[in-house]
Symmetry: C2
Subunit: 352 residues, 2 copies
């Protein structure tokens, strides 16, 4: 009888071991003093919560862990088609840490799950380098990951990726939107474009438009592929800069990461039952990629339900401090906009 | 021009919202007092590290977070073929928490990532109920998750799942194998079968054998499908029972979760450079599914490289305490075996 090996079944354990070694340097580039040296065989990653007892304890007397998970959806199919995989990892980190910081958490650690048909170290290294870059920008440690080689589940060349992130916030200081009140000011931070939501729709529209990803588009000032692959912005530095500026008073009452569901659904999630958010449509810049999508068949109302439309992250702040928060953001190179206010209402987001 | 909506592209945001509501009760079934009530819009899950300041602080003066991620590989394809999706979630939790506990960590929280072609609430609910069951058994909170609907990446009916888990261990008490020494005793905990590694090989062998998943096999005492789909055992309770029994002395010097790479590679990961592990082949029970696989074309040496061969988790303990640890495990219904000893050597695992 013929003998069957794991390699015959499409899985190569020693290649996997080499791959794990190869990504070690990308992981190490994200390590701070709180990562516990890996003496252990790598079953799990270790992260000290009190890396400097006195300092850290003063910051977090009652630490609350914050955790979330997200993927990048079918944006990865665009990256694969363009054979440009070095930024999709930034998207992956961004989708997770931007969620974490909405509660005021400090991102601590990140893990990735990559699912492929077959290990292709060169391409995967690009992905992991992007993840490590995103982790460095977010100040979190890439503590571990899993690369699953599943030839029967994924087509050759296919790739899916999921990320997981953990942060910490002081108990009682978590920002949950419950203190959002009338007259609070809504500040928007610009997105870089579509970010990582709505790509099934984006890809359908592109397919029907006849425009190729490699086509240069005058309206975009770049190729269509470059416009839709641009990495998701990471807002960690901006949000931490604002939160650190006001330690004694809670100036920020709510924050939202604008993902699937768009401005309306994501801002509504943090509104109290008796408040509306009134947004002034002309107050922020809408990147040209959204004009492209609108001109190729997506109705405006649908666009606002699916995409961020130019605003990737929203802070709701006390009116007295709105100008001061704007200045804080501008001083680190951010371009915030006062895009609206909170009014008495019924948990709706109105865009006029 | 025809208008294109997100729904046309195969994604239904309101179905997704309903789905999130539907799984809330499964998630709540895993919540202990440390989960912070979800006032926030659900961007991230919150978990208090000091749910009872005095008690918890006494346990963890210098908490170290432990994190890991894993999937279930192509075992999910067996579950899909058998249309039995209520245990694959247990596998997912097991693969993660069994990794966590190797360092002596207490599992705290879990998150899942599900990738599908199309939301099928009935089937996915089965998956999530399994995840929740695994979380309850492991004592960790299912704090969040992401269900990604990607019609262009997955075939109708396809499903991939990844898990992520965080635990905590006292700094300086993390078990990393560095204290493993000559004469330490190796105790094995039985697996339930193949667990969740090597399924690309398992499936290839089954395909070539001509035996159907629905066929009853005398040697197995059940259908082939039942044998290969049996959920991965979770060893949290057992390991915690042992660790809690010896608070003052470190009786357990190393632990390994036997996953891809089998007994040899996984035990070698926690051996010091100057020690070998000598395992007595006849000392543990090899479940009949492994005979089936061997009889259908996998060489014995290959089997030991890929599968757990009947031992899912290994504890290495000080020789003076070996019998006492055995008794501790037996008193909670476990069936441990003394399967070998540590000898002077060169970080090899020898099975004789």
């Amino acid at each position: 009888m013929a003998q069957i090996t794991y390699k015959d079944a499409g899985v190569n354990i020693s290649a996997n071991t080499r791959w794990v070694t190869a990504i070690a340097s990308a992981m190490k580039s994200t390590y701070g003093p709180r990562v516990v040296a890996d003496r252990h065989g790598g079953f799990a990653g270790l992260f000290r919560l009190d890396y400097d007892e006195q300092l850290f304890r003063r910051n977090y007397a009652k630490p609350v862990l914050v955790a979330c998970t997200d993927g990048v959806g079918t944006k990865v199919l665009i990256a694969l088609e363009m054979k440009k995989l070095d930024t999709i990892g930034i998207d992956l980190v961004a989708m997770n840490v931007n969620d974490l910081i909405t509660v005021g958490a400090e991102p601590l650690l990140f893990l990735d799950y990559l699912a492929v048909s077959k290990l292709d170290p060169q391409r995967l290294r690009d992905v992991v380098e992007g993840i490590a870059a995103g982790c460095r920008e977010s100040g979190c440690a890439l503590l571990g990951g899993e690369t699953a080689e599943m030839p029967d589940m994924y087509q050759p060349g296919e790739l899916d990726l999921a990320g997981f992130s953990v942060g910490v916030v002081e108990h009682g200081k978590a920002i949950d939107g419950s203190r959002v009140n009338r007259d609070d000011v809504i500040i928007g931070l610009p997105s870089s474009g579509v970010h990582s939501n709505g790509y099934s729709l984006v890809r359908k529209v592109i397919a029907e438009s006849g425009v190729k990803l490699t086509d240069y588009c005058d309206g975009l000032g770049e190729t269509l592929g470059e416009a839709v692959l641009r990495p998701t912005r990471i807002y960690v530095r901006q949000v931490q800069h604002v939160l650190n500026a006001y330690k004694r008073i809670q100036v920020v009452t709510g924050m939202a990461h604008v993902t699937g569901g768009g401005l309306k659904e994501n801002i509504a999630r943090i509104l109290p039952a008796n408040c509306d958010a009134i947004l002034k449509k002309k107050s922020w810049f809408i990147p040209p990629i959204f004009d492209f999508l609108a001109n190729h068949g997506i109705r405006t109302a649908e666009m606002y339900k699916v995409f961020n439309m130019g605003v990737g992250f929203v802070l709701i702040v006390r009116p007295r401090f709105a100008n001061s928060v704007m200045r804080r953001l501008e001083e680190i190179g951010e371009s915030p906009v006062q895009m609206g206010v909170v009014k008495r209402g019924a948990q709706k987001v109105v865009i006029r």
